[in-house]
């Protein structure tokens, strides 16, 4: 218990020393950089937040770069004629028969409608037959349908959304 108190005292001592040293360095920095601010206390309060070890060198470095690098002069703000535009809000163009209060599936089917799945089914069948799927000697296979491709697509999307682990 006593040892702990001692440790705490030491730490406190260490802290305050560090803080003072920091403060002196800051004073020095302020003098060199000719900063015209009012509250040095504010700076002191911020100091513990920053990494303490190499900070002592940096103010010097900073003042040196400031001396060698004068700020470039910037052109004054010009009078620019921006493009005149009228704002509008986004407009959704649903098909006439679409139910706006419909389910997520309804909205999905706005984009992936049956004709897309029909296309996928047809092309899959074409490819399968060209590869000889279901021929004698291989696993039996029948051509796919729109409904089956939908299930397939559903599984793919599900696997993408809910990954294991």
């Amino acid at each position: 218990m006593i040892a702990w108190v001692k440790m705490a005292e030491q730490e406190e001592l260490f802290d305050s020393e560090e803080g003072e040293a920091e403060f002196e360095r800051m004073e020095e920095y302020i003098a060199t950089a000719r900063a015209d601010h009012e509250e040095p206390e504010a700076e002191e309060a911020d100091d513990p937040e920053e990494g303490g070890s190499e900070r002592g060198h940096r103010p010097q470095h900073r003042s040196r770069t400031e001396a060698t690098l004068p700020l470039p002069t910037l052109p004054p703000v010009p009078e620019f004629q921006p493009l005149v535009q009228q704002k509008h809000t986004r407009v959704a163009c649903y098909p006439a028969e679409f139910n706006v209060n419909g389910s997520t599936l309804d909205y999905f089917q706005l984009f992936f409608n049956d004709s897309i799945f029909q296309l996928l089914a047809e092309n899959t069948n074409l490819y399968a037959s060209s590869k000889g799927a279901g021929n004698a000697g291989s696993r039996p296979s029948k051509s796919t349908t729109l409904a089956e491709v939908k299930i397939f697509w559903g599984i793919i999307v599900y696997m993408g959304l809910f990954t294991s682990s």
């Binding site: 950089a33 900063a35 601010h37 009012e38 509250e39 504010a42 700076e43 911020d46 937040e49 920053e50 940096r58 103010p59 900073r62 690098l69 700020l71 470039p72 910037l74 052109p75 004054p76 703000v77 010009p78 009078e79 620019f80 004629q81 921006p82 493009l83 535009q85 009228q86 704002k87 509008h88 809000t89 986004r90 407009v91 959704a92 163009c93 649903y94 706005l110 984009f111 004709s115 897309i116 296309l119 996928l120 047809e122 092309n123 899959t124 069948n125 074409l126 490819y127 399968a128 060209s130 590869k131 799927a133 696993r139 296979s141 796919t144 409904a147 089956e148 299930i151 397939f152 599984i155």
Partner: protein, 278 residues
């Protein structure tokens, strides 16, 4: 309804989007995906008229298989995959364009832009995306990041009546010399603002916590109330390089009200539209 494992694997094995064995000259590297992409793009564009502020950015589609067309950027959420350029309105993908490491922009329609400016391929791609908007009936402003923004592109878009705004890189084409500072960026007093007009495009420089470079055809930065907004800002972390700047404005207060250029606020509000969709 169900699908047995065998059947699923059969379907997976034979799944095709485009008709097989087309012995036509290969149009694009992604032509096998194209029927679906085209159908979707048509749907996307038919079902919505985007609001006046849209954004252009890149999306990544994860793919780690063998392909010359994937890009690899370490440290990104999706480090490797196909890169797609997309024009989005607040999370809704309106149009998109595939890009490739090997063939840059395969689908680039070079005849689309016929003006006198020498646009880079990337700029042409953005221009092509912009042209998918119904810009004849509505006004649009496109927000983009510093990968795309350059004076020529903004000028080309302005000529079509399309506004644009974005952060810019000093290395971009025809960037004004006044704002090129070399390797080490200077730190001006906080809230310093300056601008140059080049080809009817406003190039502006604003000292925030960092030096920010903007380009815009829809904003002005002259001292008028509609160009600036009083905005409550949290005091940034104090470092040695920004100490003087920050103390001058914030003093002890953790929050101060600064007059912030509209251009920066708009950019921050609208730029994340693509990431929402991604």
């Amino acid at each position: 309804m169900y699908l047995s494992q065998n059947r699923f694997e059969q379907l997976k094995r034979y799944f095709h989007i485009s008709p097989p064995y087309q012995h036509l000259p290969r149009a694009q590297w992604y032509e096998k995906f194209q029927p679906l992409a085209n159908l979707l793009a048509t749907k996307y564009q038919a079902l919505l008229v985007p609001a006046s502020k849209v954004a252009v950015d890149e999306m990544m589609i994860k793919f780690t298989g063998r392909s010359v067309h994937t890009t690899l950027i370490r440290g990104k959420p999706i480090p490797q995959g196909y890169k797609v350029l997309a024009l989005c309105d607040h999370g809704y993908t309106y149009s998109f364009l595939f890009t490739s490491r090997a063939e840059s922009f395969a689908e680039l329609n070079s005849s689309l832009y016929s003006g006198p400016l020498k646009l880079s391929p990337t700029s042409c791609a953005v221009y092509q995306l912009a042209c998918t908007l119904p810009f004849n009936q509505f006004f649009f402003t496109i927000y983009m990041d510093n990968y795309f923004t350059n004076i020529l592109l903004l000028k080309a878009l302005r000529d079509q009546g399309i506004g644009a705004c974005g952060t810019s890189r000093p290395s971009s084409a025809e960037y004004p010399k006044e704002f090129k500072f070399g390797k080490k960026k200077p730190t001006f007093p906080l809230n310093t603002i300056s601008g140059v007009i080049q080809r009817e495009v406003l190039v502006c420089l604003w000292q925030d916590n960092n030096l920010v470079q903007f380009m815009s055809t829809v904003h002005a930065i002259s001292e008028r109330p509609d160009n600036y907004t009083e905005k409550r800002r949290r005091r940034p972390r104090i470092t040695n390089s920004n100490r003087q700047n920050i103390l001058r404005f914030f003093g002890e207060n953790p929050i101060a009200t600064l007059s912030t250029p509209k251009i920066a606020i708009d950019y921050n509000n609208h730029m994340n539209a693509v990431d929402l969709a991604d």
